[in-house]
C-alpha cells in the first residue's frame, strides 16, 4: 500500500498548492461578501462583515472543505455554501473569545478586535447572528440536485457539534479555566475541531462513506493540531530561544511552553505521520488526494504565505 502513497506524495511536489489556495481565497471572499449584504440595521451587518471579511483571512476551513468534497468527485458548488458557513461560525466563536469577559483581546490578526470597534454588546450580537447565518446559508444555497437532504442535516449536525458545548465552546471554557490536564484537551478542541469539521463536512457533501468520514475526521484533527504546534515552534524560534519571561503574543497554552522545542518537534512529526496515514487508501480516487497531502506538508514547512 506504500507505493500509491509515494506516487501521490511525489505528485504533491508538482501540485501548486499556492495557486489552488489563493484562487479559493478569492472565490470565498467574493461569496462571503455577497452572503452578508448590508441592510437595516446596518451596524450589525457591518460588525459581522468586519470579522468575516477581515484582511488576511486564510480561509483554511473552506479550502479543506472544498478539497475533501472534490476528493470524492463532488462538485465544489456543493461545498461552497458550507465553506462559507464554516467561516461564519468560526468568526462568531473568535468574536466571543476576544470579549473582555473572555480572553480580553483588543486585537485579532493585527486589527482591533470586533468589540474594540463596535462595542461589547454589538460583538455579542454579531456572534449570535453569525452562527445562525451559517446554517441559513447552507440551507438556502446548497444546490438540492447535488446534495440530498439527509446529508445536509448531517452537515448541520457536524457544525453544530463543532461549535457547541463539547466542541469549541468546551475548548474555550477549559482554556479559561486552565489546569494541567485541561490545557492539552483545550488546544485540541480549539484548533483541531474546525479543521476536523471542515474535512468531515467536505466528505459528507462529496458523498463519502462512513468509514471514509472517520478517516477524514482523524486526518482533519491531526492537521489542525499540527498547524498549531508548528505555529508555537515557529514563534519560539523567532524569539531566538529566549524562553524566559519574554511572553509571546498568544495567551494560554503552548506545546513549546509546556514541553520545550525538542518535544514539540517530536509531536509535530508524529502528527504529520498520523495525518498522512489516514489518507492511505484515498489514492483510488485519483489526484484529488494530492491537495490533502499538501496541507500536511504546508502545515509543517509553510513554504509560502497565503495572506
Amino acid at each position: 500500500s506504500s507505493s500509491p502513497s509515494i506516487s501521490a506524495q511525489s505528485s504533491s511536489l508538482k501540485f501548486d498548492l499556492k495557486t489552488y489556495w489563493t484562487t479559493l481565497i478569492a472565490d470565498m471572499n467574493q461569496k462571503l461578501h455577497e452572503a452578508i449584504p448590508i441592510r437595516y440595521p446596518e451596524q450589525i451587518y457591518q460588525s459581522m462583515r468586519y470579522s468575516v471579511l477581515a484582511d488576511g483571512a486564510k480561509r483554511a476551513s473552506p479550502v479543506m472543505c472544498v478539497a475533501t468534497c472534490e476528493l470524492f468527485g463532488g462538485n465544489r458548488l456543493a461545498a461552497f455554501p458550507t465553506a462559507c458557513a464554516l467561516e461564519m461560525v468560526h468568526a462568531a466563536s473568535l468574536i466571543h473569545d476576544d470579549l473582555p469577559c473572555m480572553d480580553d483581546d483588543p486585537s485579532r490578526r493585527g486589527q482591533p478586535s470586533n468589540h474594540t470597534i463596535y462595542g461589547d454588546d454589538m460583538a455579542i450580537l454579531a456572534g449570535d447572528a453569525l452562527f445562525p447565518l451559517g446554517f441559513q446559508h447552507i440551507v438556502s444555497n446548497t444546490p438540492s440536485n447535488l446534495v440530498p437532504e439527509p446529508r445536509l442535516l448531517r452537515v448541520i449536525t457536524e457544525i453544530a457539534q463543532t461549535v457547541g458545548s463539547t466542541g469549541m465552546a468546551a475548548g474555550q471554557f477549559l482554556d479559561l479555566e486552565g489546569g494541567p490536564e485541561a490545557v492539552e484537551f483545550a488546544q485540541e478542541k480549539k484548533f483541531g475541531e474546525m479543521s476536523q469539521c471542515s474535512a468531515v463536512c467536505g466528505g459528507l457533501l462529496g458523498g463519502a462513506e462512513d468509514d471514509e468520514l472517520d478517516r477524514l475526521r482523524r486526518y482533519g484533527r491531526a492537521v489542525g493540531v499540527l498547524y498549531r504546534v508548528v505555529d508555537d515552534i515557529l514563534e519560539e524560534k523567532m524569539k531566538g530561544g529566549d524562553d524566559g519571561d519574554g511572553e509571546g503574543k498568544k495567551k494560554g497554552f503552548s506545546y513549546v511552553k509546556m514541553y520545550g522545542v525538542e518535544k514539540a518537534m517530536e509531536v509535530a512529526e508524529q502528527l504529520k505521520t498520523k495525518a498522512k496515514q489516514e489518507l492511505d487508501g484515498f489514492e483510488k480516487y485519483g489526484d484529488g488526494v494530492v491537495p490533502l497531502y499538501s496541507f500536511v506538508d504546508y502545515a509543517v514547512d509553510r513554504g509560502f504565505s497565503v495572506s
Partner: protein, 304 residues
Amino acid sequence: EFDEESRKPTFNFKSYMLQRAESVNQALDAAVSLRDPITIHEAMRYSLLAGGKRVRPVLCLAACELVGGSESMAMPAACAVEMIHTMSLIHDDLPCMDNDDLRRGKPTNHKVFGEDVAVLAGDALLAFAFEHISLSTVGVSPARIVRAVGELAKSIGSEGLVAGQVVDIDSEGLSDVGLEQLEYIHLHKTAALLECSVVLGSILGGGSDSEIEKLRTFARYIGLLFQVVDDILDVTKSSQELGKTAGKDLVADKVTYPKLLGIEKSREFAEKLNKDAKEQLAGFDPEKAAPLIALANYIAYRQN
C-alpha cells in the same frame, strides 16, 4: 391562572398547559444532559430548566397537531426554540447588554456562573438547538426538517431576533422613537421566535403551504400581542409578581406602548391583535384549534 378566558368548556387550558409544559420539561432535561465540561452544561441547564411557562414550545406542539402531526414530530423543534429563547435571555442579561440580576425569580446566569461561562452557555445552547432539531427529529421527511432548520436560522439572526435587539439598543434614550420603530423592535425581538415556533410546528406536522402561512400570520399577531401585554405589565406589576425586574423599561428609558399610546389604548390594541390572530384560525377544525385560541387568550390576559 391559565383557565381564565378559556372559551370552550370542553377544553381545559390549565391542565393542557401543565401537561404540555411537563412533557417539554422532560424532553429538555433529557436533551441537555450533564456532560464534560460539567460547568458549561450546568450553566445551560440552570437557565433552560428554570421553569418558565414554555409558551414557545407549546405553540410549536399545538401548531404541529393542528395540521395533523403528532407531538413527537415537533418535540425536538419545540425544545430547540426554548433553547434559543433561553440563550437570548442569558446574553440579554449580561452586564454589557441589559445588565439584569434577576430572571424568572432567580439570579441571572452570569451572576451564578460568571460572564465568560454565560457567553459560552448561550453559544452552546444556540448550537445545540440546531444539532437537536437536525439529529433528533423523527417521523418527518428530511426535506421538511431542512426547511425547519432554515426557518429557525432566519428567525433568530440578523433578519430576526438579533435585528430587534440591535434596534432596541439603538432606541434607548431616544425621544423620537415612533410606533413604526417600536413595532419593528417587537416584531423582530419577540414575535420572530413566537412566529418561528408556530411555523416550525406546522412545517414538521405536515402542513400545506397555505396552512403554514395562515399560522405564520396568526403567530405574528400574537407575537406583537405578547410584547404589548409585556409592556403593560411592566408598568402595572411589581418585580415580585413578574419574577423579573419591573419598571425596567422606564428606568432604561425605553419606548413602550403605554408610553406612546397610554395604558387604555394599549389595552385596546391588545384586544384587536388578539381578534385578528384568531381570525386566522377560522378555516381550521375548531376542536384542534382550541389550544391555539386559548394560548392567544392566555397571552392577552396573563398577569405575569
